[in-house]
Symmetry: C2
Subunit: 159 residues, 2 copies
Amino acid sequence: MVDIDHRVGIKAPISKVYAALSTVEGVAGWWTKKTTGVSKSGGNIDVRFNSPSGKEIGGMNFEVMGLDPNKKVHWRFRLGPKEWIGTDVIFNLSQIGDYTIVLFSHKNWCEFVECTAHCSMKWATFMLSLKELVETGIGKPSPNDVKIDNWNWTSGASF
Amino acid sequence: MVDIDHRVGIKAPISKVYAALSTVEGVAGWWTKKTTGVSKSGGNIDVRFNSPSGKEIGGMNFEVMGLDPNKKVHWRFRLGPKEWIGTDVIFNLSQIGDYTIVLFSHKNWCEFVECTAHCSMKWATFMLSLKELVETGIGKPSPNDVKIDNWNWTSGASF
């Protein structure tokens, strides 16, 4: 199994970071504007991604496996790129001084593929987007996301 | 063993990207201004990182294991944080249309530690810095690097 792991520190109360991860409005503020669904345990959330020209280039649907206020958010992907199906995304939160520390993990990839490396970079930019959203009020959700490579401009991109 | 893998696409000829990875001046333009040494196979390079206030917060020394022009750069860390010693950083380059694709890998961590997740985020920001350097002429090497968490402000940070 292959995991992607990132650590980011956000200068804000843990409750603000948790809100950005545990609500549809929050996720729409840092990941993709096209976020819909129900963010409660057992609920499903749909995320869609457009190219800068407005063409849909991909999307996923995940189940909310657990919401532990101010501590942990757990998603499991049910639909999307085949490499993503059955994988888990977990955000673990803790407070250290003025910072809320987010330990992000996208776990249980069957094997390493080039898409894993693309997704690792892309998740890093979205973690910076989460940090900006909570600290300044303005994130960089798709379609305003940071473009990292050629796959971000074509239908070959998973996100 | 645990690896960090990132994929980035740079809109520039492969020779420009290779130059930014295979010369001391290049590395100083995207990773840290305090880069010294000899970039040839068997040579050693030293990198030092300062906090925004100017205090040194860490550094590493690595051996250049291989330089394959316009294809691959391979480093092995000899001194630095204990988790880094013996690990390898490899940049594999290829051209796809207008893009030079960089497949970055920091390989052979003994085990996953919280520092791995910090370093994964930090390498992602440095890969964006490499992209900016080559595409615009101005990167974000330390001490102008993107700060991602509380460890970037104290002597606890490896980089």
